[in-house]
Each structure stands twice: as C-alpha cells, then as structure tokens.
Symmetry: C2
Subunit: 248 residues, 2 copies
C-alpha cells in the first residue's frame, strides 16, 4: 500500500506549492501540459486512466493507493482548491493530448465558448466511443476547474487537442476521412447521410455556428431535421449527431 | 401604431411597479400566472406568441407596436430588470399552462434541478414539435430570469405544466398513450422501440434519474445505447430521445 506520505509541506512559499498553484492559470497549464483536479471521484477516474502525476491532501491518511502523494498543511490546501468545492484532496494530472494512431470517429469544435457546453460535449464523445476531440484555438479552455467538473471525468478517457481546424480538415480529407459540418442553410438532412468508415463532425460557436471557411472545405454540410423553431443548444445538437454516428 | 405611451411612472412605490417587481419571486409568479422577460429578442418572441400582457421601458420610444406599453423612469426600470442584463425594456407575460387538447408527443420531467438543463429541454421540445412539457413539483422553476433566457424564447411556444407525474402517467396510460421512461438497468435499447401514435417520455433528475415508482408504472423502460462510460447530461439524453421520436 502506498497511502502514506513521503513528506509534509507546510509553507505556502514552497517551490512545488507555487508550481501547483500556478496550474490555476491557463498559461501554466499550456506550458506544463498538466492541470489540477479536485475531489475523490475525479481523482479515482484519473487514476483508472493512469494520468495522475501527484496527489495532494491535507488529510491524515489518503484514500488512494498511489506512490506519489504529498501531505500539505490546511492553508496550503485551501490555496490550491476552489473555494466552492472546499476539497481536502486534489491531484496534478497530465493532459491527454496525443492524437490517436487509429480512429473511426472524431469531433471537431469550432469556437465553443461556454465551458459547460465544452465539458458536456467531451463527456458525450466518450459515451459514444469517439476517438478524439479537436478544439480550435478560440474554444474555451477545457482544463479550468469548472469545465473539468462538467466533463464528469470524461476528459481522462479521450484525447482533447487544440489545433487549427482548417489545416486538420484538409489533412483528414487527404486521408480519406469524411468531414461533415453541421449547418442550417444549404445542408442535407442527417437521415440521408449514411455512416461511413471514418468520419469527422464539426460543430460551431453558440451564436454564429461553424465558420464559413470550414463549411466550405468540409465534404458535407448536414442539418438535424427540425420544424419551426430550429434552435438547438450546441451540446444537444452534438449529442444527437454523436449518437446517430456512434462508434460501434 | 401603438408605440407611444399612455402614461409614465416615476415612483418606485407605485402599485403597478410593486406588482411587477413581485414577479421576481416564484410565489407571485405562481399566484398570478405571469412572469417577467427582459430584452427585445425575448419580447419579440412573446409578442409573436401572443402572450404579452404589458411592455415596460425607460426608453423615449418603444420599438414595438403594442397597445399596453408603460414608460417608467430609469430607477424604476433598474428595479425591475436583472443587473446582469441591464435591459431598458421588459414585459409581463402570461404563462402557457393549458394542457393541449390534442397531442402526439409529451415530455415529462421528474425533478430536473439545474435551471440550464430545464430551459434547454424546453427549447429542444419546441424544436422537435413536442406538444407539451410536464414538470414534477420538484423541478426547478422555469420562470426565473436565468431559465427564461436559456430557453431562448421557446417557453412562449409550448405549454409547460406542473403536475404530479404519477397521476398523469396513469391517466395517459388509460388514454392509450405509450409511456416511456429512460433508465439504465433492465431497460430496452432505444433502437428496438418503434415510434407509436401517442408517446410520453419521462426524464429524471441529474443525479438519481427517474424515481423508482415512476419507472414501475411506465409502459416501457428505455436506454440510449452507449459503450463504457455510460454518462450523459440529461439535456443531451433528452435531445437524443426527442429527435428519435420527433413529431412529424
């Protein structure tokens, strides 16, 4: 069992504490490829996925059997976790950013602004066995504390990669992947587009949809059949599309 | 044109102002059957649906052609609208709570807690031409300012009725409506359940799902096919179900 501690840190000025605290900022998460998660449930998910670097707690005993665990004083813990959660345990995790070598289903997100929508889309992608999520640089950051929570731990189970979608779509097309973009005008209804071997689906910004350029370079423009009101939340639209073309 | 004003109210102690302000509280909304909406977009939707009672603004001229418009002083307006929106125009609207005489598709919500999920589910129901939404008494209130906004105006286009779902399900079954409840354990996959003439779909609480009793009295227990992770946000699950059985 590894649920004892090698050390206890009491000073907020400790170099490691400073490095962990810096992970609350996007800049440091981008630089290091790491992020913080809070609470037993999420840490359990991260352990299962093998993406935990260090567990940090102000408890006397850790509930987890893991080699890299550090005990800290209560004020240090308070500095690390969000005041909302008030968690007594947190972990530094490594982002999953490696593109899959083999895949059948990809989700491409163009400028998703709302952290809740982004987290929900990643959660849904895992549920329907998608192989990776690609985000445009304009998307919200997946690794802030609120978004991490709304994924319900799904982000440990799927690579989420930030790229220029325009380059990616051209590359996917060259590899024979069918690129399908959701759009209202001049699009074909979803039911007439059969599943094919390798597909990538592009969803767009909450207000403006998929950008015109990406619509133009995609193989297919597709719409979800609706009557009258024609208004769907992007996470709901994504759910319908991912269910329809789920990876089986 | 009716975009002029019959009167201008300057006092925050005016009896009508007090009545309008009281609509910020659920109690008064329940009592009166009315609620407040803010901003031109939502008011336009409400006017199209014919559910506006009074338009209130501190503008010099109203953008709308409507008989019942009241001009108020800026401090009165500030008291009425949320500080987030800072709108200069608001409207008192009547709730749509009349059960439809004829219907093919109903959505039943059992204890949906999150206002965003509730608003999104109502928005999706309108997009797929559902005929009414029934909420258990434990559901969040649809008519607070935040939820109204997340419906994107959909709540003017569909009756949303608060009832005891247990009584309703028994009554619907007696009328020959197929009652379908979403559940994981002991349920049949969605793809083997064909659409029938009249259907009612029951979705449950974010944490605990549909209550055991409602599961027991429903005709069918249905699950959305997933692999592994088996975790969907309830608004996403609702979107997939409502698309699959949309009213055509």
């Amino acid at each position: 069992m590894y649920n004892y501690f090698m050390e206890k840190i009491v000073s907020k000025d400790n170099a490691r504490v400073k490095r962990w605290t810096a992970l609350k900022e996007k800049k440091e998460r981008d630089r290091s490829g790491c992020f913080l998660v809070e609470g037993e449930h999420l840490i359990q998910e991260a352990l299962t996925a093998g993406t935990v670097d260090t567990i940090i707690t102000d408890l006397e005993e850790s509930p987890f059997d893991f080699a890299e665990q550090v005990q800290v004083a209560e004020p240090v813990m308070k500095k690390l976790v969000s005041s909302v959660s008030g968690s007594h345990i947190a972990a530094v995790c490594r982002k999953l950013e490696q593109a899959p070598l083999q895949f059948r289903r990809l989700l491409l997100l163009d400028g998703i602004q709302d952290p809740g929508n982004l987290g929900t889309l990643v959660r849904t992608a895992v549920s329907f066995s998608f192989d990776a999520v690609y985000c445009s640089p304009e998307c919200a950051d997946l690794y802030n504390e609120k978004t991490v929570r709304s994924t319900q731990g799904a982000l440990f189970h799927i690579p989420v990669i930030r790229v220029d979608l325009s380059d990616l779509i051209l590359q996917l097309k060259a590899e024979g992947v069918e690129t399908v973009c959701t759009a209202l005008d001049g699009s074909r209804p979803m039911t007439v587009i059969p599943p094919s071997e390798k597909m990538a689906f592009i969803l767009g910004n909450e207000g403006s949809g998929v950008s015109k350029h990406l619509q133009e370079i995609s193989d297919v423009r597709m719409r979800i059949e609706m009557d009258g009101f024609e208004s769907l939340n992007v996470a709901v639209a994504g759910g319908i599309v991912m269910y329809q073309y789920r990876n089986r």
